[in-house]
């Protein structure tokens, strides 16, 4: 296990690269969902404004 973590001496390159890519994937998932949710909320606000009067 420690051999796996040390990556044959390349741990300082391999793990940051993996972590960074993983972070960007997660961020993209969050950002995509957020962008959709924002568009939906905005559309909903518009609809309720039209129905109000």
């Amino acid at each position: 296990m420690s051999g796996f973590l040390s990556m044959g001496g390349y741990a300082s390159s391999v793990w940051p690269a993996v972590a960074l890519t993983f972070g960007i994937i997660v961020w993209n998932v969050v950002a995509a969902r957020r962008s959709f949710a924002a568009a939906r909320a905005e559309a909903r606000r518009r609809v309720s404004m039209e129905q109000a009067p």
């Binding site: 796996f4 690269a17 959709f36 559309a43």
Partner: protein
């Protein structure tokens, strides 16, 4: 020829619903494949005979670079369809490709730099692939910049579509000219190692990652495209029906 399928396919409510239904079918396989590919690449694949375990960065670097180029191609293709057939949903797809592609260009650049540190002894050398990737990032930023600078959404769609098409003609030219540039300015061999010689046990996780990243891109694009469709269709009745639910 009967074109009704095309118009039905291009109708915003239809695509909005379809994208919603399809998203999990891309997202979950993408998650599974990426996790499997990472495990295979980091734990199962044998170390490279020259670079040892350092080569394992390829399992995150190459798929990111692939996604960054694929997103640009999709963006330009969707932009062309949107421009020719005046199709709103195509512009929605093009608009959603840009941020995803830009982010994975950043991922490819940073992982390439982290790979460069043990290989070249420094984070940045003007390696042709990295340089081309950097230019690609600027192309993405120009696209996003143009889009956000134009207030009228329809004009923004169409103007950025022209830019995407001009850019996609340019991408291969940039690629080859950068390689040519690199070949005439032969840097005094900075590369400590040769290219990794890829064997099947190494290649399999990489292919899994490529498929996983492709599915991931489609899933991300579908989620964003739904939002973009809503933004473009705010006045339509179907939107109020969908949103009211």
């Amino acid at each position: 020829m009967d074109w009704t399928w095309f118009h039905r396919f291009g109708s915003p409510p239809h695509l909005y619903g379809l994208a919603g239904k399809l998203t999990p079918w891309f997202a979950w396989p993408a998650a599974l494949l990426i996790l499997a590919g990472l495990y295979g690449g980091l734990a199962l694949a044998p170390p490279d005979y020259q670079q040892g375990d350092g080569f394992r960065i390829i399992y995150v670097h190459a798929p990111s670079a692939w996604l960054s180029l694929m997103a640009y191609t999709w963006m330009a293709a969707a932009a062309a369809i949107g421009l020719v057939w005046r199709m709103k949903v195509a512009h929605a797809v093009a608009a959603s490709c840009a941020p995803i592609g830009a982010w994975f260009t950043v991922a490819a650049l940073c992982t390439g730099m982290l790979w460069g540190k043990p290989m070249w002894g420094t984070y940045w050398v003007w390696d042709p692939r990295l340089t081309a990737e950097l230019v690609l990032l600027f192309l993405y930023l120009g696209y996003i910049g143009l889009r956000s600078a134009i207030e009228d959404p329809q004009r923004a769609d169409r103007a950025s579509a022209v830019l995407a098409i001009v850019g996609v003609v340019n991408v291969p030219i940039v690629r080859y000219s950068v390689e040519w540039w690199n070949s005439i300015h032969q840097a005094p061999s900075v590369m400590k190692f040769g290219k990794p010689s890829i064997s099947w046990p190494m290649l399999t996780p990489l292919l899994i990652m490529f498929v996983g990243f492709t599915l991931l891109f489609v899933a991300l694009m579908l989620v964003r495209a739904r939002g973009e469709i809503l933004r473009r269709e705010r006045q339509s009745r179907w939107v109020s029906e969908v949103v009211a639910q």
